[in-house]
Each structure stands twice: as C-alpha cells, then as structure tokens.
C-alpha cells in the first residue's frame, strides 16, 4: 500500500445496515406509466426547455438545454410523448415545485442515435462540453455539474483525482453494488476523467466495510496504471467530499473553495460510471441506481429512470405495515418526504421506509449542557454548541464568525447530542435566514435605486416642462411686441417665399440639431449614476425609453405646436 492515510477529526459510527440491500444484484425498475422529469436537477441554472406538450421524444433526447456554463442538460429517460411542461412538486425538503416535463412512455425504449466520442483524441474543452450536454452531474447527492469541477483551478493542474466510493451513510448500497457489478465501466470513466484533467494519480477511496467492491475495482484496474484503490476506515462521514480528500491526500479544502484550487478534485464512482456511458457509448444520464431499503420486505438496488415516481419503486420492495414515513437519502443527511408520488431525480441515491422501531423519533429536546460531545464529533472541527446558541438567539453575525457556513450538515452533532437537540435544523435555519436577509437587502437596495431614479426623472421632467413653457411664453410675448416681424425665426423673409422653403428647412434642421444637443447636454447633466451599474438588458431598456422620450420632446418642440 503506497498511500499513507490521513485522519479527519470527529465522525461517528452508526450501525451500517448495509447488508439488507447489498445482497441482491442491481435490478432494473420497470418503465412507469408516467415520468415526471424536473428540468432543474443540478446545482446552477435551470436548463431551458426544448420540448412542447404533444411532442414525441426518443430515449436520450435532450428536453432541457444547459443554460450557460453553470448548468447541465436534461434528457428524456425513455421514448414517448411529452404530455405537459408544468410546475410539479419536487422531492426536496422545501416542498417547492418547479418546471417538470411530464412524459407518457410508449414502452418502446427507442434511443436517439448514440454517438461515442473518441476521447483520447478529443480536447478537454470538447469533453467538458460533451459532459455538460450529456447531463453529467455528481451522483453522490450534491448534483454539482461535473464539467465545472473538471476545469483547472488556480493551482494550474489537478494533480490528484479522488474517486469517492466510500458510501459512508448507513443503509445506502447503490455505489457498493455499482462497484461490485460495473467496476470496469467505473474504471473506464476514471480514465476519461483523468485524461480531461491530466491528473498524475488517482485514488479511489472505499470504506473498508466493502471488501467485495475493493476486490472488483482492483481486478478492473489491472490494466490501468496510476489508479490506486484505497480502503479507508469506516467512519461516517468518510464519504464527505472534503473528508475523503483529507483522508487520502491530507489536503483540507475550506468552505467556498474548489478542490481544483488545491490541485485535487473528487468524483463519485457513480459519476465516473456515467461519464463512461456518456463518452464511450453516447448515452446521456437518464437513469441512476437507487437503494430502496429500510422497513421493507425486499430491499435492493434498482436502476431507475429519472422521473420514475417513488411510489413505483416502493411497490417493488413492499414496505411493511408499520411504515410511518419515507426518507430520501440516508438516515443521517436525508429528509422525510412529504409525499411519495414525487419523481426520482439525479440526486436520489436512496429511499428508506421508516418505522418507529427502525428509526425511532428523537426524544424530547432538552437544554444544552455544553458537554462538548458535538464538538468531538464534528468533522468540520466546529463548535456546534456555540453555533446552536447563536442560531437560537438569531445572532447570525456571531454564527458566521464561528464559521457556520463551514458546516457540511452531516448530522454527527445531532447524532451524539445527549440532549436530543436537532442541531442541524438550527444551522439550516440560521443559514437560510442569513441568505434570506441578504436577498432582502439586495431587493431593498434595488428598490431604493429605482425610487431614486424615479425621483430624478420626475424632477428632470418637471424642469424641462417649465423650460418649455417659459420658452413658449417668451416667444408669444415677442410675437405680440414685434408684430411687424411675425415668426421672425421661422420665416425669415416673406418676399422671398419661393426660395424660402429650403431655407426654412435649413433653419428647422438647425433648430432641431440645437434642441437635440441641448437635450443631450441636459440629459447628461442630470444622468443619475445609479443606472450605470444595471445589467446590460436593463440599460438597453432605459436607453430605449430615453430615446422614445426624446422623440416625444422633439415632436412637442417642432411646429405646429399643440397646446401643452
């Protein structure tokens, strides 16, 4: 063993409960009657819809195109007809809804033309674009678009690639089964990832409670050089990206930074496998392996089309009668589903049926006695009990000072708390409150700018109106006073009317030009500064409005004058 292992602080050792679902091979979940595919299935921008209701789609056909670089495409998981493009509830703790494509499968599973890419001769840019268009996102649960993580960071080159097969959450075995059954595909995906970033070494971290997975991976990498499978001690959350990087390389990546800045990057084994499918076979990410376990009769892992209702998966495993709720994700970081008719997404690694016996509800929350058990368990080396006080008292400034955003919400603190305090809930509350406050502040700033701009505009308009009125009155007075020279400016010489027309035109043009320069000078004089920082489209809009306004003013100035 070449690699020396490092250690991360804290962590807990809950019962693993892996055997329940890790025994049976991966089974294919049947194509359901309806698929509901959320457009936004990754961090970043929601993809732009490409289909309309009534349209026929093939399996793997793009239904949402990546919007900008921080986004990933979404594809039809099977062939069929698009029924609707409408907001549907998402499987998310917020219970919010967002745009989904509803597809009625035709049962034929007709693929679009799948074009493999010769990755050895392709440029990293081309490969990254391909991954984005194939909808490849992190399948460990965070669904971060993979192509972004493959960009070289400030460190120049990503020297070390860490492949995450730790799967530290209890109950979940989808990566375990994938490694055992499809190790070759994973290794081929790793080869592609390594090629893109030209990494010197690859470390595959697998918790040492998965010896079969380690053996399968080692057998598969027999031909590849520079890939090392490293069993890591089983301790939750060893599979946290930052924790695994720390264990394998000793590098600690702070909050808000990319691993690439430190010459290291981490991908889940499932992601590596989907990279292999996307590049070497030309299959976009339309399915994933989901562990369905817990209080069920037939737990297992299912290759599931994205958009499959969770109900359909549950029907395959027969939940037991005393099941009282369902959890998406693992027991440590997952959340209770409000409903089970929600779709499986790229983030859904596990569905657990919970019963009071298997997942006892935490006891009554008691006061914090500052015992420090949470501090010893915290893998981010925070002071959870201090953060708890700050979050509780809404002292968000202090919470931030104590690095609340470094919290990875792994749940170790709540797991060990003798007072049954749901600590992570307090941190989430504090974080979302802080984000909401920031949004509110930004909105208030924008409103203030709009208000100031409006005031300036109305002032300016009032001033202009007054000037015009004054000019008009002056002209009228002049006309009354000098009756012998009527409209002296407009009609310079009455006897020479024959030649007057071009002259008149000239005079008019000069007047108009003078008015325009005056108006411009005036406009520049009062131009408020607060529109300078607006987005280009907003500025274009403002320019348009200003142009229209100038036009109106010119019309008002040119004779014949209408009563104002």
């Amino acid at each position: 063993m070449l690699a020396t292992l490092f250690k991360f602080e804290g962590g807990v050792k809950p019962d693993s409960h892996k055997d329940e679902s890790s025994q049976a091979p991966i089974a294919a979940a049947p194509v359901p009657a309806r698929l509901v595919v959320p457009l936004r299935q990754s961090a970043g921008n929601a993809p732009l819809p490409l289909v309309q209701p009534g349209q026929k789609v093939l399996k793997g056909e793009p239904i949402g195109a990546a919007d900008g670089s921080f986004s990933a495409a979404v594809h039809a998981p099977t062939s069929g007809t698009v029924l609707a493009l409408e907001p549907r509830t998402l499987p998310h703790p917020s219970g919010l809804s967002a745009a989904c494509v509803v597809i009625a499968p035709d049962g034929e599973e007709r693929w679009i033309e799948r074009a493999p890419l010769d990755w050895r001769s392709a440029s990293p840019e081309a490969l990254r674009d391909r991954l984005r268009d194939m909808g490849i996102v992190g399948l460990g649960g965070a669904t971060f678009p993979s192509h972004i993580k493959l960009k070289p960071g400030a460190a120049g080159r990503i020297e070390t690639l860490v492949i995450n097969g730790a799967e530290c959450e209890p109950w979940i075995t989808c990566d375990d089964r994938l490694m055992r059954e499809r190790a070759e595909g994973i290794v081929r995906g790793i080869d592609i990832l390594r090629h893109i970033v030209s990494a010197g070494r690859v470390l595959v971290g697998v918790e040492d409670n998965k010896p079969q997975a380690v053996a399968a991976l080692r057998a598969a990498i027999a031909q590849s050089h520079g890939i090392e499978v490293v069993p890591v001690p089983t301790r939750y959350p060893a599979g946290g990206e930052k924790q695994l990087i720390r264990v394998l390389t000793g590098i600690e990546i702070p909050y808000g930074r990319f691993g690439s800045e430190y010459g290291v990057q981490c991908f889940n084994v499932g992601t590596a496998y989907s990279v292999h499918r996307a590049i070497e076979i030309g299959e976009p990410l339309v399915s994933r392996i989901v562990t369905v376990s817990g209080n069920v009769a037939r737990p297992g892992n299912f290759e599931t089309l994205i958009g499959t209702p969770i109900d359909a998966l549950l029907a395959l495993v027969a939940p037991k009668a005393d099941t009282d709720r369902y959890i998406m994700g693992g027991p440590m970081m997952g959340f209770t589903l409000a409903r089970t008719d929600l779709p499986v997404t790229k983030a859904a690694n596990c569905i657990l049926a919970a019963s009071p016996a298997l997942f006892p509800r935490p006891g009554t929350e008691m006061p914090c006695i500052r015992c420090g058990a949470c501090t010893r368990a915290c893998p981010a080396e925070l002071q959870p009990h201090e953060l708890y006080w700050f979050a509780r008292s809404k002292n968000f400034g202090k919470a931030q000072e104590y690095h609340i955003f470094d919290c990875i919400e792994c749940g170790c603190c709540a797991y060990v708390c003798p007072s049954n305090i749901r600590l992570v809930d307090y941190y989430r509350f504090a974080k979302t409150s802080m984000r909401a406050l920031e949004r509110e502040k930004a909105a208030a700033d924008a409103a203030r700018q709009r208000f100031e701009f409006r005031n300036l505009r109305s002032e300016r308009e009032a001033k202009e109106k007054a000037e015009r009125l004054a000019a008009k009155t002056a002209a009228a007075r002049q006309a009354i006073a000098g009756g012998e020279k009527p409209a002296a400016a407009a009609m310079p010489a009455a006897p020479e009317q024959a030649q007057a027309l071009p002259q008149l035109d000239e005079a008019k043009k000069a007047l108009i030009a003078a008015a325009i320069t005056r108006a411009q000078a005036q406009k520049e004089g009062v131009q408020p500064k607060n529109i300078d920082n607006l987005a280009p489209e907003k500025q274009a809009e403002i320019r348009e409005i200003e142009a229209r306004r100038a036009q109106v003013r010119e019309l008002a100035k040119t004779p014949p004058e209408e009563p104002v």
Partner: protein, 326 residues
C-alpha cells in the same frame, strides 16, 4: 449524569469506612432538598417536571454539596445550602445549562462565608458512632472537641499564618496523629477512591482528560516548586493533591460542562487557573480550602476563555498543506 453519580460511589464508600454513615444521611438530605427545590422551580417555570428531574443534574449538585460539606454539619445547613444552589444558582439563572456558576460551589462559598464555624467542624477519624453523629446533625448538640478536629489544611493555615508560632509544615502535620503522613488520615484514601471514579468517567468518555490532568499537574507543580524552595512554609505536592477538595474538584467539580470552558485549550486554561487559585487561597488566603472560590472565579472567566481559544476550523488552519486562510 447518572454515571457521574455512580463514579462517586467508591469515594462515598471509603468515606463511610473512615468517617461513619453520617455522610449518607447528608447525601439523603441534600438529595431530598435538591429534588424538592428542582421540582418546585420546574413547576413554577412551567417545565415538564418528571422529564427534567430524571436527568439527574440536581442529584449531582446535591451529592457534591454533601461531599464537600462537613458530614456532621447541621441538617438545616445542608438543606438551605442545597436549596440555595438549586433555586438561586441554577434556576434563577435559567435552569439546566444556563447557570454561569457551579451551583454546588456557590452553595459551599455562601455557607463558608455565612457559617464559617459550622463549615469547619470536621469529624475526627474514628468518630463513626452513628447515634452521636446524628445528635450533632439533628439536635444541634455542639460537637465536642473529642469528635471534631481541624483538617490538616485548616491546621496548616492557622499555624503558619501566625509568624510568632514559628510553625513548620512538618511540625504542624506531625503534631496530630490523625493528620497522617500524606494528606490527613482517611482523606487520602477517599481522594484515591475519587481518583478511581474519575478515571472510570474518563474511560466512559463522560469527561475529557484536559481538566483533571491540567488541574492536578499545575497544583502539584506549584506546590512542588514552592515546597522545594521553602519546605518549612509550603506543603508538598502530594499533600496538596490528596487533601481537601482537590481530587473531587479535579474530576467532579471543575469538569462541570455547563459552567466550565468547552474548548480543549480553554479547559486546560480553566483547570490550570483553578489549580493556581486553589493553591494561592490555601497558602495565603483566609479559608482553609480554596477549591470552591477558585472554581467560581474561573467560572467568571469562561466566556473570555472560550472566545479566546476557538480552535481552527477544518480548512482554515494556517500552516497546513492545502488548508488556506480565507
């Protein structure tokens, strides 16, 4: 909390062996007062009484009060002090988890200031006659010189503070057979039993090593240094560690999480400060044992200590490879 009580049992057993069953009566008195006071306060504050009573924190306070008070203190003193600890030092500050001061030590400090004579009335070794002890506890019979004695710490303080007496440590400690050679006959064994219970708490991960190790090490170091320099004036490290409340304090009092520091470095500072103050009060102060005042004074410093000793967070360690500062 129940494990803390269990860890005190060896010490209590040795206590009974040397000083009779009076301590059990004191523990019962303090426990009853603590539970009654706790229940009344919880009811007044509208908290679920049974749930909070079952956490055992009131009992820990009660037992520590009983174990730090003289076993032949009058019953009303134990009861009043315990009620004061629970009602004033704990619940008036917001109850469990909110008290800035160790309630048992508040009770001790208040009692020794208010009733110095009663708080200095310790039974002599061998005075284990239960009926006689109960007479002192309940009938306020004045304790005879035959049944009480000054503790070694008290004797040292009173003798050494009088320059004309020209007393030496060896002289004072040798003056009374019951002082023994180490820390007071019987008391050393009780201290060792507390040590055993404390080590079990460590093994059970109820407490961390920081407070006991720092407390005992600093106390021994200071005492050792001064006694080397002037053995006639200053008692040695072994004496300081096994006498008075040092061992009980190191494992059971200074380790109170609520009123103590929480960061690892903070715990070391807290315990070292408590040890230093204990030694200073013992050697120069007006009270024989300084444990209670030392802990209370360090309780005062806890917010500052915690604030100043925040350990670096994952990824924010300055010199570490890869770990960048923001």
């Amino acid at each position: 909390m129940l494990k803390v009580l269990a860890a005190l049992i060896p010490g209590i057993a040795v206590y009974v062996w040397f000083f009779g069953a009076a301590i059990l009566v004191q523990i019962a008195l303090a426990s009853a007062a603590a539970l009654a006071g706790e229940a009344a306060m919880l009811k007044l504050r509208g908290k679920p009484v049974a749930l909070f009573l079952s956490d055992g924190s009131a009992l820990v306070t009660a037992w520590l009060i009983a174990l730090t008070f003289p076993p032949i203190a009058p019953w009303w003193l134990t009861v009043t002090a315990t009620l004061f600890a629970i009602v004033v030092a704990k619940h008036l500050y917001g109850g469990l988890g909110q008290n800035p001061f160790n309630p048992a030590m508040v009770a001790f400090a208040v009692s020794i200031v208010a009733f110095p004579a009663l708080m200095s009335q310790w039974p002599a070794v061998g005075f284990t006659d239960f009926t006689a002890q109960m007479a002192v506890v309940f009938k306020s019979q004045s304790a005879q010189d035959a049944v009480t004695m000054a503790t070694p710490l008290d004797a040292l303080r009173t003798s050494l503070h009088v320059p004309e007496a020209r007393a030496t440590v060896a002289g004072v400690l040798g003056s009374h057979a019951t002082f023994g050679n180490i820390g007071g006959k019987g008391w050393e064994w009780i201290a060792l039993a507390y040590l055993a219970g404390g080590l079990w708490l460590l093994q059970q991960r109820i407490i961390t090593w920081h407070v006991p190790v720092a407390f005992l090490a600093v106390l021994a170091l200071i005492a050792g240094g001064f006694s080397l320099a002037n053995p006639e004036r200053y008692a040695g490290p072994v004496f300081h560690v096994v006498t008075g409340g040092a061992m009980l304090g190191a494992f059971f009092i200074a380790t109170d999480p609520v009123s103590g520091a929480t960061t690892p470095r903070g715990k070391l500072i807290f315990a070292a400060g408590a040890a230093l103050l204990t030694w200073i009060i013992r050697s120069f102060g007006a009270y024989p044992d300084g444990m209670a005042f030392a802990v209370l004074l360090m309780n005062l410093c806890v917010p500052l200590i915690d604030m100043g000793t925040q350990p670096p967070v994952f990824g924010h360690k300055g010199g570490m490879k890869g770990g960048g500062r923001q």
